[in-house]
Symmetry: C2
Subunit: 145 residues, 2 copies
């Protein structure tokens, strides 16, 4: 079998405290998959999966159990249908325990964007991009150049 | 408009050297979107986008220009159709300049998995998971629990 190289199947976030991380994601509105196990929680997305996994377990799985894993240099963006939805999604995350890094505002490239950090420091951008229309299911196919 | 909460539209990787990062991803087989701009490179995936963006620009965009952003606690997994493909995809990444963290091997949960770091330290897992069949386009819908 040979699949396209341009795929991410699973995004795993290392978390220091699974209960705290789940409270955040589920407080923000995510619903875990029934196949989640002790030590790992899965959330189905559009054709891919978000996972929460213990930070030490993740380092060990990477073959470097004593590594101190860092956050911040990866941003996960969730684009919304309009600015009001961006505001509401951002506020829902803050209400669930996120730390606002930058509240949504008009940005130089013509969109509307804010950033927050989840309880482990993982960074999310919540944004409206008028140049990138979303499909009905929320997926994104870039317009022709 | 109100879309499912369980979505990632865009995964942005902060990079210290865009030319080096592009050499790696394109050497690994990714094809940039024609709408990429100086300072940002986009790669279309299945309904979502991978972006490379300057590390300093990303910190500034997050509203904390002087932050030192870290890597490692997010793992991006690309699941393959079989172990031979996992080996080939892993080796192609190493050949393109990735640092092997753990070569693919049989793992306790019944799959076959390896990890590498890209030139900026972003971590990818290349894996076969016999319990999670992929769709023909490489997307993943978790089986019922």
């Amino acid at each position: 079998m040979s699949l396209s190289r341009q795929r991410i199947t699973l995004v795993t976030l290392g978390v220091a405290d699974m209960a705290r991380a789940r409270r955040f994601y589920e407080g923000w509105g995510w619903v875990p998959h029934g196949g989640s196990q002790p030590g790992v929680t899965f959330y189905q997305m559009n054709g891919a999966v978000l996972a929460l996994f213990g930070l030490g377990d993740l380092a060990a799985d990477q073959g470097r159990p004593s590594a101190a894993l860092g956050t911040g240099a990866v941003a996960l963006a969730q684009n919304c249908g309009d600015d009001a939805e961006t505001d509401a999604v951002f506020q829902a995350a803050v209400d669930a325990g996120a730390t606002a890094l930058k509240h949504p505002e008009k940005v130089f490239w013509g969109g509307y964007s804010g950033y927050f950090a989840d309880p482990d420091g993982h960074v999310w951008e919540i944004a409206t991009n008028p140049f990138w229309p979303l499909s009905r299911d929320g997926s994104l196919t870039l317009p022709p150049a």
